[in-house]
Each structure stands twice: as structure tokens, then as C-alpha cells.
Subunit: 250 residues, 6 copies
Amino acid sequence: MRNDGRQADQLRNVEIITNYTKHPEGSVFITVGDTKVICNASVEDRVPPFMRGQGKGWITAEYAMLPRATEKRNIRESSKGKISGRTMEIQRLIGRALRAVIDLDKIGERTIWVDCDVIQADGGTRTASITGAFVAVVLACSQLIDEEKINEMPINHFLAATSVGIAENGEAILDLYYEEDSTAAVDMNVVMTDENEFVELQGTGEEATFSPNQLNELIQLAQKGINELFDIQKDALGNRANLIGENKGE
Amino acid sequence: MRNDGRQADQLRNVEIITNYTKHPEGSVFITVGDTKVICNASVEDRVPPFMRGQGKGWITAEYAMLPRATEKRNIRESSKGKISGRTMEIQRLIGRALRAVIDLDKIGERTIWVDCDVIQADGGTRTASITGAFVAVVLACSQLIDEEKINEMPINHFLAATSVGIAENGEAILDLYYEEDSTAAVDMNVVMTDENEFVELQGTGEEATFSPNQLNELIQLAQKGINELFDIQKDALGNRANLIGENKGE
Amino acid sequence: MRNDGRQADQLRNVEIITNYTKHPEGSVFITVGDTKVICNASVEDRVPPFMRGQGKGWITAEYAMLPRATEKRNIRESSKGKISGRTMEIQRLIGRALRAVIDLDKIGERTIWVDCDVIQADGGTRTASITGAFVAVVLACSQLIDEEKINEMPINHFLAATSVGIAENGEAILDLYYEEDSTAAVDMNVVMTDENEFVELQGTGEEATFSPNQLNELIQLAQKGINELFDIQKDALGNRANLIGENKGE
Amino acid sequence: MRNDGRQADQLRNVEIITNYTKHPEGSVFITVGDTKVICNASVEDRVPPFMRGQGKGWITAEYAMLPRATEKRNIRESSKGKISGRTMEIQRLIGRALRAVIDLDKIGERTIWVDCDVIQADGGTRTASITGAFVAVVLACSQLIDEEKINEMPINHFLAATSVGIAENGEAILDLYYEEDSTAAVDMNVVMTDENEFVELQGTGEEATFSPNQLNELIQLAQKGINELFDIQKDALGNRANLIGENKGE
Amino acid sequence: MRNDGRQADQLRNVEIITNYTKHPEGSVFITVGDTKVICNASVEDRVPPFMRGQGKGWITAEYAMLPRATEKRNIRESSKGKISGRTMEIQRLIGRALRAVIDLDKIGERTIWVDCDVIQADGGTRTASITGAFVAVVLACSQLIDEEKINEMPINHFLAATSVGIAENGEAILDLYYEEDSTAAVDMNVVMTDENEFVELQGTGEEATFSPNQLNELIQLAQKGINELFDIQKDALGNRANLIGENKGE
Amino acid sequence: MRNDGRQADQLRNVEIITNYTKHPEGSVFITVGDTKVICNASVEDRVPPFMRGQGKGWITAEYAMLPRATEKRNIRESSKGKISGRTMEIQRLIGRALRAVIDLDKIGERTIWVDCDVIQADGGTRTASITGAFVAVVLACSQLIDEEKINEMPINHFLAATSVGIAENGEAILDLYYEEDSTAAVDMNVVMTDENEFVELQGTGEEATFSPNQLNELIQLAQKGINELFDIQKDALGNRANLIGENKGE
């Protein structure tokens, strides 16, 4: 039994609200335990200079936390005048993960900007961002279809992410909240598709190491959790969930 | 009758949710029509170097918008590496306004950081920020009292703000939403206390000018609106509202 | 009687030297008491990207102080690598004020850069900048007419600015010098046209507030002072003053 | 057989030169195929502010490439005025990896700065940096022992890194050079200790995904390669290699 | 005869106004032909961290041009957010030159900030800055003596600077104005003391070269010009000129 | 006899390795005593915007030191986010010196980027950079000829540089190493062509001055040293040395 009452292989309570704000093409509010993230997908009708003229699109992500999303207030990155290494790593991860499941040839010369803004943080903000961002991107693509700007859903697989880790007591656990995260010996973020393939795997021994056996244990936990996340994403998307993978193999 | 159905002297629907997120000492979610702002007040147990050793506190504000709070996505200021002139003006205004009603001698050597983050923008984000930030600061001070860190509420007056303007058709109107704001000939932000005194008055002819008579008309509209905002702040604060002004004259 | 011997409604000694340096299209040295500002207007034969192809012009302002314009040396903003919020606010104000009286359609696709550099500061640098910058812009436009690049003066009204305030002793005073400015309870900058219309009004209670009656008193003082500034501008401009407003109503 | 004639499980030729430049406490030149990196470890007799007074040390890493280390010249990051996300990710990875095997309590209040400067790049620069940096840190610690500043080697395990990946043709391969790296479907960096435990595992599907089976295959390749790297590190270190792990379990 | 009517070995008209603005400890306005520079020396009662506790002072210089000091407007360095290489070179030169003649042990733990701001540029701004800055520093030191903060003039030699060059037609000329400067084959800045010793010599072939004989010719021209500048500095300083060198040999 | 055993007029041991790394068009490793610099020349098939359409090329230089090239580690300029004044001065000097001997009309609309990266510093890094960079540029131009992109060697003269100075004991010495450099009264960098003409001469009294006689003595030392450097450059270039000056007078 964990400090918050969960089993080792139990996700926190997850909720996904769609159409959270009115301006973005896709807007999602995702809650994972006490972690809360707004994931907005914005469509711009052009691509960055290095991609022009190729007839295909681009997707990129940005990540930030409100200064007081955390227990102690952080200095705003715009005030510091630069983005931290942690932020860069996270936003590059989110972008890379989404690019693994979207077929950029099918969205034309458009850029999808994904903004993940953490309103409240309690561990797992990057994996919650990926899970929520995926839904926001599907919503944005649905709108492009509704507006007849594109012909079909450019996404062939569901994509979600969670964290797993080795707790202080040596136990492998799923979906770490902040207290667990800050004391864990090993921390691993896993991004997977609904074919149970890995998109990204980042395991770090925090001044510690882990064995191949522990790696296997962690991966099985992650698979279990991510499959549950797919169900929650499907519920949130309703009918639009059926469009995903419909055109696979074309 | 205005495009959104309001009378010239009518505020939009205003809602103030307290204790919106769990970490800040004071956390508020304010809705003014479709404008939505999170106002968090964070207490830090030290003051900036230029104020050390004087036994008094400091209060400062920061303001930002989510990139897609607006109809068109804005580049994130942390990505640009610098804060725009508009942002600077607004956060200086919020800080100055709050300093007019808080007695910094009564909070000890502490800094109150006020973060106003616009989740959705539809005009009037700076005045909504001031109105919400005031409530967040009262909540933070209440917590300092509850924790017996300070003895009494350091705030003697209610503080709220609204915008008024001369519409395209020449009519003076209260609480402009984005469409009105972007076409108005004159735009004025007014910050007042519950003694009907001005804290800040900023009127700008947008490639236009205004007469002393029009100025008077605008000021009366603002007074009406701000008095209604005080009632909403009082409702949100409940019993804690009674602490304000209690120690006036000491 | 004020500390420097002036009446409450008396301006400091104001002097405007035209053609102060040789390179700019319009160059002015303005003295307001001990405040001294060089106001240069430079014409560039193109507009910023966001205005290209519209056949109209643009005017923008920059403001700076020499590091030792003030009693204590300030760090140079180029050394700090960023512009302060105060500087941003002031240069946005100067630009906005000038745009209220210049008809940008009449100057073609040109940019007028207005540089206000404070050589010596003793309060009221932003209002002195506006009053001097107006003259520099008229000079620059006159030269465009002389060179037959434009057909007529694109300016229909005189524009000047001053500060008013409530002194420590509660008295409303005109044109505050530094000592008064730093102790005033209320500080207001007023920009007006020669039709006695407001272009900009910025009143701030410095940890204080002001009543509607005080507002009226301040505005009357400002009107008196600004009307005197118009006479000084006219003297400085000589015959060129007659061109202003000549084409009004076209 | 790969394009450069290697077997799928074959490392490139690796060479480690110690004491490469004269100033650093530990200086290494590592060659992995055509990838060449200078790894310097510098000891500073103080720690960053957030660690002062704890009696323990700190280790941090920086990474850069000469502008023409690559086939096409890159703009120097000092000229751009900021560090790219890629550089940040890499230098955070190097620092984290080293912290997993060094006992910071044993080096006193000192900082070890590790600088990895890529002279020539042909794929695998981050893993070559880790492998070389480890040796540089051992050299620096040896010097601290020789100078009697510390009592014993603060390092208990060898640490090395390599890359593995799924080539375009679906084959799992060890130690990718640039051409392979840029076409691989999956790219994984693995950092391990000589107890065959993982320190860091970063696998990325480049617009692709990988299965649990492929993961296992990749990990076995990595283990093989890294064990060969340990032998090369031991040769380079000579007698000093024996100090590693000597005080394990204390 | 040169284009502006001067002989090859003739300086432009030079004027030095002392006490130009009221705040600085030493304030000078220097005119060299159409080049006009404000040189302010500010005294701060502390030294930078790297010099603390040594009982001696520091002197440093900053240089800037008003945006429209030149024929074409330059972007303000504070707006660009960084200082150009040219500015850095010049301010380092001014500081180094002044440090050659001031005895920093005699000013106590104080910093003298020298600000050279070019109001109008017509060639030779860096040498005019040095010549004017020297006078400003003497004025500031005189004030320190008058205020009994220091005992004696810490300056033992006069210091002045000029430019010499090889004109397009091959002739060696003194004190180049902008037109000459921009077409010269060789440009040399010379800083000397009144003992006819060099402090700094910077000769540059502008896509050209120069022979040892030409070097000798240029140096003789510079000596002639600088000796004339010393007389102008002495006139400007009046009695205070006698303090210089008075304590030499102590 | 100097501390390192050299005569006053003796260069340190100089070695030039060509084709040091594989990617650049010209790559050189130059050793001058314990000073070691990688000089890479990269050819880009376009020129900066301000030079487009003129049919001629551009050459520019960048200079940096590895953080631990020096006895004490320096903070990386990319981490500080800006380039120091010293670095700017040096890279401007290198670029200017090279432009004096290359005929930019003969390289077409190409840019040659010269990167001088100091691996180990022991005084004279800027002059070693110029001497090595010259060779790298000749190699890059040779490759352009070999690839038939240009018709002839665009370089008419050899170019090399050294430092001279007045030692603490008053003696004029050639090619100062770090210990001498940091204690010298006068330091002069001299860049010359093989016609014994000066390209650049920068002499600085380090809180000291020097006489015209000392200047002559220093120049003769520099000429001797630079003539020896030309021989070493010729050896390094082999047959390609004959191309230099071949087309002089065209």
C-alpha cells in the first residue's frame, strides 16, 4: 500500500475535459491526481522556413508551468529570459512523441503548435502532458476535417504516457506522485502506442542504478497503466476516437 | 444595446472562485465574461535586497497569457527571451495598484508575489487581473494571520478595476469585451477603492482624442461598475471580508 | 510658494532649440527647468514588415537617459542587455501620443523614428520628450515637404504634455521637478491637443489615492500649462507652425 | 555487414589518450571511429551556493561542438547567445550519469567541472563524451589523492556508454556512426556500470516505434559493447584503475 | 589642401566645455570639428567585487552613440540587447588609456565610471572621447580633493589622443574627419602622455598595408597634434591643470 | 636569457599540422610553444545579406577558448549568453588581418568562415590564430581551385603575426609566453605581410608607457620573428605555397 492508498500497479484518478477554452482548435484539461495541465493545439496555416514547399506539415510542442504550480514558487522563465534545460527536454520529448503517430503528409503545409501549461504540479507533468496533448491534437485534426481543410484523420494510433519507478523501498510502482518521484531510486517515463510498441523510453537512476530484471518489471507496469489511459482518451474523444487508425495502411 | 446584448452601463457576468489551486497561499480563478484569469498570491519569507533590514514587506506582480489565450496564438515570451512592453506595463500597473491598499509595514520582511495568468482572453484582462489579485492577496494575508505570522489584516480598503471607453458610435460604455476594445476610439482603465477614490486612471485616445466632458462621463460609468465588483469580491471572501478596514486609522 | 520659488500653477522655464544636431531630419534640444532632452526625428524610406504595401507610414519612439543624467548613475540599458519596464512604458507613450496627431496616410511608406535622449534629468522627462518630439517631427515633415517627397503637412493639431500632481502638503501643482515628483502623493501626466482634447491621461496614486474633485483640479492645471507650451512650440517653429492644421478636414 | 565493414555487434575503433592538455586536473582525448572529443575535468575548491555548508561536493558537465566538427558548419552557440535544447539535454545527461558512480561525500566541498568538446563528429558524441569524461574524472580524483586533498578514490564503479539502434533494414546494430544514426528507425543511448546495471536508458523511435522484443535485443548489444569499453578505460587508466571500487561498501 | 580646407598636419577646431551637466562629479562637452561628445566622470564609493579589500580604486569606461549621431540612424544597442564589437573595443580602449595615467592607489576604494556619449559623429569619436574623458576625470578628482575625500591629485601626466592616417592619395594626414576616415588606406589611433610616450598605438591597414617609413611619418604627425590637444586641455582645466604631476615620484 | 631558456629575439617552437580534422575545407592545428589552436576554414556558398549581388566574397573569423585552455577554468561564453569584449576584439582582428591579403573579388559570392579554437593557451593565442588561420584559408582556397569553383589563388601575400613586448626588466622580447605576457610593461601584436609591410599594429602600455625608440626596437624584433613564421607556413603548405602571389598585379 502506497502513502496515498494506491496499489503498486494503480494509476491515480485521471480525467480529461475537452473543449476547455474557446480559441484553440483543440483544447484539453487533463487531471492526473493533483497534476493539472491545459493542453492546447493550435493550427497555423504555414510551416517553418526549413519545411516550406514540401507539401507536408509540422508539429511542435511547448511546455511551461505556472510559477506557483509547485509547492515553492519558481521564477517565471520569461522573466529569467531563458528556458531551463528541464523545460527544453520536456518540450522536445512531447513533440517527438506526437510526431511518431501523426502522418505529417496528411495535414498539408500547416503547423500544429501544442502548448502544455501546468496549472498544478504533483509529479508526472510530462507524461500527463503527452496523454492530454494527444487528445488535443485529435480534436484539432477533427476540426480540420470538419472544415474540409484535410480529408482524413492523419493519426493511426493512440498515444499515451506514464511514469514508473523503483520506490525507496525497492518496489516497482506505477504513476508516481511528487513525493514518490522525489524519493525514488529509479524513474522511467514510457510513451507507447495502442499496438504496445514503445515510442520513447527514458529511464534514469537517480544517483542509483537498475538491473535488466527491474527494467522488465517496470515496462510491464507501464504497459498496464498506458492501456488504461487509452480507455480514458477514448471516452473523452467519443465518436472521434473511431477515426484513429481508420486509414491505416494507406 | 451592445452586440453582446448588454446595456451601456452593464458589467459582464463576473465570477470569483477562491482556493483554485492547492499550493499558493492565495489562489483565485476570476471570470469576467469570456476573460478568465488565474490569480495566485505567493508569500516568500524575505524581501528583495534593496528593502532588507527595514522591517517592512514588498508586493510585486507578474502577468502572462497562455499562448492560445487569444484568437491567434502568440509566441511565448519565455521563447522570445524577453517580456513585451505591454506585459511590463500591465504587471507594473497591477503591482502599483495593490501597493496603494496594502500596509507593507504590517506584513514584516516578506514578499507577496502575485501571478496573474490569463487562461482565456476576451478584453479587460488587466482589470480582471487586478480585481482577482486583490482577493488572492486577502486570502494570502488571512493565511498569514491564521498561522500567526502577522497580527492583523494589512489591508484597509477594497480595490477593484474595470475598463470604460468611447465606442465607435460615440457612446460611453462599461467593461469592454475584445470586439469593443479593438474598435473603441477611447479606452480607459480605472482602479478605485471602496471610498470611491482613484488609485490609477489611464485613458488613451487610440488615434483619437476625448474631451473633459467625455472624461466625466467615463468616470461615472467606472464608479458604477467598480462598486458592483466590490460586492462580488465580498461574496467571494465571506467572513474574511470583514477584516478589511477593521484596523483603519491605527 | 514652492521650494524653487514657483507658484502652484507655474511652469518651469522652457526653451526649445531647433536644428540642434546636423544629421537628423528634425533635431530639437528642449530644456524644461533642469530637465534637458535631445529629440531627434529620423525618416527612413520604408515601413516595418507588418505595414508593407498599405501605402501609409509609421511613427515610433525610443527613449533613453544618459547613465549620469540623474543624481546617481544608472547602469546603461545596453550593458544590462535589456530595456527596463519604465523605459518601455515611456517610449510606448511617446509613440502613441504622436500617432494621435499625425496622419500616417500622408507620409507614404516611410517610418519616422523619434529618439528622445535625456541629457540631464530633473523630473518630467517623459512630458518634455513629448513636447520636444512633436517639434522635431514637424521639422522632419517640413523637410519632406521641402524635398517634395510629400505634398502637405500631415499634422493637424499641436501636441504637448506636462505633469501635474498633488504635493505632499495636499496642494495641486503644475510641472513637478524631481524633488516634488519623488514626494508627491499623486502624479499625473497629461497629453493634449490645441483643441483642448485629451490624447492621454495617466494618473497614479503613489501609495495614495485621489478623489474626483482633485482630478478636476489637476486637469485644469494641466490645461493651463499645456496651452503655454503650445506658444513656446509655435515660437520655435516660426513660419512652419502655420502649416499645422492647414489641411484639416481633408 | 554494415557500410563501414563492421559486424552488427562490433564497436568502432576506440582510443583514449590521457593527460591530453596540461592545465586540467584530468584531461582525455577520446576517439570512437571518426568521433573525437576532448574531455577535461577541472576541480574548483568550492560548490555552488545551493550546496554550501553540507560538506559534500558537486559534479557538473558542459558539452559543445566546434562549429565545424560536423559536415556543415553550425553557428557557434556563444554567437547565438543561447544554448540549444540538444546541447542542454546532452550536458544534463553526462552530469547525471557521472553522479551515479561518484560518491560526492568523499570529495569535500569541491566542484568537478567536466567539459566535453567535440573536435570532430561522426555520430555517438554523447556516449563518447560519457566514456571519456569518466576517465577524466578518475584522473582528476587521482590527482586530488596525490595532493592529499582527499583520502580515497570516490568512485566505486566503472561507467561507460554506447548507442544502439534499429537500422533502416530492421537489424539491431551497435555503436552507430553518423550515416547509420541519421537513417535509423530507433536510436537508444545506454549508460551502464561494470556491474551490468543501467544508469540511464534513452530509447527514441524516430517517427517510428519499437517492440519489447527489440528492446531486449538492443540491450544485449549495448551490454556487449559497454563491457569492451570498460577494458579500454582500464588500459588507459593503468594502475589507477585498481583504485575504483576499492573502498566499496564503506 | 584637404577637402575641408585643412593642411595635412592641422587639427580640426577643438573646444572643451567643463561642468556641462550638473549631476556628474566631472562633466565635459568636447567638440572636435563636427564630432561632439559628452564625457561624464562619476564617482562611486565602492569597487567591483574582484578588487575589494585592496585599498585601491578602479576606473572603467563606457561609450555609446545616440542613434542619430551618424548620417544614417543606427539601431540602439539597448534595443538590440547587446553591445557591438566596435563599442566594446572602444570602451576597453578608453578605460585602458585612462588607467595608464591615474594612480589607483591614491583614490581609495572608489570606482570612477567614465561615460562617453557621442551626440554627433564626424570621425575620431574614440580619440575625442579619450581627450575629453581625461579632463572629466581630472575634474572628478579635483572634487574629491575639494571634499577632502582624497589628499592629492592621483594623475601624473596629461593624456590625449588623435587619429592619423594615410589618405586615398597616399598623403599622411592628421585628425581625419568622417569622409577621410572612410576612404583612408591606413588608419591609426594614437594615445600619448605629455612626456611624449605612447600609451596605445592601433594602426590598421583597411584592406591595405603600410611600411615602417609610413609608420614613422604617422607617429610624428600624431605627436604634433596631441601636443596641441594638451594646451587645449590645460586651458579648459585652468588652475586645476597645475595639480597634474605635482606629486610625481612619490 | 629568459625564464624558459630563450634569447630575447627567439620564437618558441612552432609547428603547423595541415588537414587536422576531416570536415572543413581547410583545417590546421598550430602549436606555438604550449599554445595550441585549431584553425578551421569553412566555405559557404553564399554571402551575408549586405553583400549580396556584388559578385564578391566575404571572410569572417570567430575565436574561442575551451573553458580549461587556461590555468583556471573560464566560464563558457555560450553559458554566459554573450561574448566578452576580449573575444570580440580578437575575432575582429583576425578577420581584418585576413581581409588585407585575400582578394575577395576572386572567390565569388562565397563566405569563408575561419574558426580559431584554442585548445591550450600559454600566451600569444591571437597571433598564433592569425598565423594558423592564414594556412587554413590557403588550404580552403586550394580546394576551391581543385574543385574548379574558382580559377586562381585569391591570395597575393603571406600573412603572419607575433607578439613583442617590453619585459618587466625593460628588455624588448619576442613571442611572449603567458608568464611574460602577464608581467610585461608593454605588449604589442604585429601582423605583417611577406613584403615587410604592416597590416595591423596594436601596442598597449599595461599601466605603463613606451617611447618612440622602444617602438622601433619592438618592430624590428617582430619583423625577425614573422619572417621565420613565413618559412614555417611555406613548409606546411608545400607546393601550394607557390600559388601565393602568382597572380599578383592582375
